[in-house]
Amino acid sequence: MTIIISGRIRRGDLDLQLDLELPPGLTAIVGPNGAGKTTILRLIAGLEALDEGTLTINERVFDGPSTGVFVPAEERQLAMVFQDHRLLPHLNALDNVAYPRRRRGEDRSTARDHAAAALHSVGADALAALRPHSLSGGQSQRVAIARAVAADPTVLLLDEPLASVDPEGRPLLRKLFRSSPAIYTVWVTHDSHDADLADCLVSVSAGEIRQTEQT
């Protein structure tokens, strides 16, 4: 049981040679801006495709350009918290969080019940009826986290998920990520406290990628 990314991707100035084997549990990805941390998440998500090599999750190939295999994002059973949150502007917070469950065919009221529970788990109960445009940066990030958690994903991808959350709110969310039921949680962060929580640490800099197991 691992996520294996072994291959290469070039996008503009970025040229990433990847050879990663992420174990179940929490993986932190650290490194300077522009080094390719987000690109690794987007590769796992299926929003980018490898130019060469393969990406496998639990022995199943999700992306293998040489064999023509590419599983699209919507079939990967994962969830992602984007750096810029990307809440749907026409839905209130509750329906934003319910959205992934609705797409899986769950009926509206069950999906909303799960969404309400997820909002509660991130301390955002009070925001349920609000539209994204009336949320502050930190509030909208909490709702985005709730949406990802509510999806019950196999792989939870987090792109600097605490960047706009106030310092007092962070411990609750760190605990949430640490105890996430997702098999894999991959967390891009700039904070060394976050990285200390991880089972596996990936550091990306200047095209060089190092992976270390932590105890």
Partner: protein, 262 residues
């Protein structure tokens, strides 16, 4: 607005005022000559009522076609990278700059009884478009579609694919993402494009008269009725002009105000 510490140069202000007058004087002239006291009588005259009916059917069906065909077209232009993309975009926009009478002529030779496509429509399905209400709808759609497509395409480009990606990782297939995210997130531009297309369809004259003719109750829309009345009954022409002006102003106010666009 003029910055308070600097004077606007007179050489700019004079032509600016003349330009404004060119737009304003005809409108004022129309309103000054309008038969206000007999407006209701003029507009309930059976010929005018017929034309209002034809115009409503033609413009509403045409706007609906713009929505159903133009929305996927705008999406394709905004999202699909094609080698000939610029050429296709130019072709879609062409009716905006093409003289409408040329559009009507083109429609006639393409879809007329002897036309490229028209002869097969006639032979296989018994469908004849010229000089029918369907033909008038087609002519109106030809000129109105680019207004809808360019408005919506610009919005789709500006919104980008960020939300569609969020929908995809949430498990939405592309068509589902289009319907549940792309469309609702661009709804203000869609409504604005629809209003523009409807107004353009309502005002269509040249392509309609060329392709669909001027048949009372079938293809004689309000602009055609106005042109006809100008010869025999200027009062009626003025009354219909006031009606069309009011509708156009209404669309403009709705677009500029916050009714249609955020």
């Amino acid at each position: 607005m003029r910055p308070p510490t600097r004077h606007a140069p007179t050489p700019l202000l004079i032509p600016a005022c003349i330009g404004l007058l060119i737009v304003a004087v005809p409108i004022i002239g129309l309103l000054q000559r309008a038969p206000w006291s007999s407006l209701v009588v003029q507009l309930t005259n059976p010929a005018v009522v017929d034309a209002i009916g034809v115009s409503l059917i033609v413009s509403i069906v045409s706007a609906t076609l713009c929505l159903l065909l133009g929305l996927p077209l705008a999406w394709a232009l905004a999202r699909i990278e094609l080698r000939g993309g610029r050429l296709i975009r130019a072709a879609v926009m062409l009716p905006m700059v093409l003289p409408p009478v040329v559009g009507g002529t083109a429609l006639l030779f393409a879809l007329g009884r002897r036309g490229l496509v028209g002869q097969w429509l006639d032979r296989w399905f018994g469908i004849t478009l010229p000089f029918t209400t369907a033909g008038a709808i087609l002519a109106a759609t030809f000129v109105a579609l680019p207004f809808f497509v360019t408005t919506v395409e610009a919005a789709l480009r500006q919104n980008g694919t960020d939300l569609e990606e969020a929908a995809a990782v949430s498990g939405a297939r592309p068509l589902v993402a289009f319907l549940t995210v792309t469309v609702p997130a661009s709804r203000e531009s869609i409504v604005a494009g629809l209003a523009l297309a409807w107004a353009r369809a309502l005002g269509e004259f040249g392509a309609t008269v060329t392709f669909a003719g001027n048949l009372a109750g079938r293809t004689r829309t309000l602009p055609l009725q106005t042109f006809l009345a100008l010869e025999s009954d200027p009062e009626a022409a003025l009354a219909i002009s006031v009606l069309l002006l009011t509708i156009s102003l209404g669309v403009l106010v709705a677009l500029r105000g916050r009714w249609l666009v955020r």
